[in-house]
């Protein structure tokens, strides 16, 4: 390849160390300012907005959803509704599932008795394994089947990125970022 054979990164590092650290402060800010100035210049020459009002309209909802005043109340309200739907909505299917599994348990018990199975076997398989599993399923499945689709909808509507934007303000204080997942 085209680099000199004697090259090692150490030389680069020593080159960097020669640079006066005192002069380094604020250079990143200056670089970013210059980059944005150039970007602005380029866009001013090549991009025309026929209808600025129309453009601003698309940001109207953004401004409400991410406003300092309304951002968090709206977020809490949305999450409140989602959780309420999840918990309240899950009750009915939960009890239906529990009833359904309960009926099957009745049949299973009858079958075990007809076969004269010992009590301990019935205890392990039906009262332990079957009842435990069916309870978990009937309690967990309905909330999950409600919560995840709603959350996916919020994400696809683009609401979750707005929430991340709101939360970013909070996370900025301890110098972390909310964008890491």
């Amino acid at each position: 390849m085209g680099f000199p054979a004697h090259t090692d990164g150490a030389a680069l590092r020593s080159l960097m160390q020669k640079i006066d650290k005192g002069e380094q402060t604020g250079i990143r800010d200056q670089i970013v300012v210059d980059l944005y100035r150039k970007a602005h210049e380029l866009c001013a020459d090549t991009v025309t907005y026929k209808d600025r009002k129309k453009l601003m309209e698309t940001y109207k909802l953004d401004r409400i959803l991410t406003s300092r005043v309304w951002g968090f109340p709206i977020m809490l309200a949305m999450l409140g509704v989602v959780f309420w739907l999840t918990i309240a909505g899950a009750n009915v299917p939960s009890s239906m599932l529990a009833g359904f599994f309960g009926r099957i348990e009745g049949y299973l018990t009858a079958a075990f008795q007809a076969l004269h199975a010992p009590d301990w076997l019935h205890g392990i398989l039906v009262l332990g394994l079957y009842r435990g599993t069916s309870w978990v399923v009937s309690v967990m499945l309905p909330p999950m089947a409600i919560f995840f689709p709603i959350f996916a909808l919020l994400e696809n509507f683009g609401y979750l990125p707005r929430v991340a934007f709101n939360m970013d303000r909070l996370f900025k204080n301890p110098a972390a970022t909310a964008s890491r997942h």
């Binding site: 680099f3 000199p4 090259t7 090692d8 990164g9 960097m16 210059d34 991009v47 890491r180």
Partner: protein, 242 residues
């Protein structure tokens, strides 16, 4: 028939992945970048009898190595030097996106700028003069709508032009303040002498001024690996000759 490497880079939510899917279809696989918890998506397509290996770099707002994502994207462009880098910009937010394009153009000259979501921009009454922008940037500019598969053919054509060096772009360089420019002028020849012409000397000089350790470390690793690789190749060549 040859194989070219194409990298896609852009801000998050510019439809970069939609473009990736439109280009590669089902011929793709995902994994992780070695040693990093950053998703690496690779795919390929064929055009005019050549194979193009496309890599979807993580979406980033800048390339200042503020995060692992930014480092991965930066290292790939600077050190792995793809044949073509496609810079995907959101046509509805040009000014915000342009900043990344300028940073990429400091790192590589072999680039194509791709204005995605052009249909959305049209609906919002935004008009972009892509010819003028191409002149000003010094690289090909293509308007597309990845979602509607619009403008893809033109994009493929421009990627081919740059990959085959039918077009050799001369990208615009951001002019910094006098003070910074003066110090870049001082450093650049020195950097060029140390690393040769394969890496963007001006950009590395700027990073040195910025006190960016991570790029030096990455270069050290890469140059070290390359240097021993070259040695091995020479040794192989000698043993073959005998």
């Amino acid at each position: 028939m040859s194989t070219y490497r194409v990298a896609l880079i852009g801000n998050p939510n510019t439809g970069k992945s939609t473009l990736f899917n439109a280009l590669t279809g089902l011929r793709q696989h995902t994994g992780n970048w070695a040693g990093k918890t950053v998703v690496r998506a690779e795919g390929e397509y064929e055009y005019n009898g050549h194979t193009y290996n496309v890599i979807d770099l993580p979406g980033t707002y800048s390339l200042f190595s503020n995060s692992v994502d930014e480092e991965v994207a930066r290292d790939y462009i600077v050190l792995d030097r793809p044949d073509v880098t496609v810079i995907v910009l959101d046509a509805t937010a040009m000014e915000r996106n342009m900043n990344l394009a300028l940073q990429v153009l400091e790192m590589t000259s072999r680039a194509v700028v791709c204005l995605n979501l052009i249909d959305e921009a049209g609906k919002l009454g935004i008009e972009i003069r892509e010819q003028l922008l191409a002149e000003k940037l010094g690289v090909p500019v293509v308007k597309i709508s990845a979602r509607n598969k619009q403008g893809i053919t033109e994009l493929l054509r421009q990627i081919e032009n740059v990959a085959k060096r039918r077009i050799v772009p001369k990208p615009v360089q951001v002019k910094y303040s006098e003070e910074i420019e003066r110090r870049i002028q001082e450093l650049e020849p020195e950097v060029r002498r140390l690393i040769g012409d394969d890496y963007p000397a001006r950009w590395i000089a700027l990073r040195l001024l910025d006190g960016d350790d991570s790029i030096i470390a990455a270069l050290e690793r890469r140059l070290g690996a390359n240097a021993s690789q070259t040695k091995e190749m020479i040794a192989d060549g000698l043993s073959c000759a005998h």
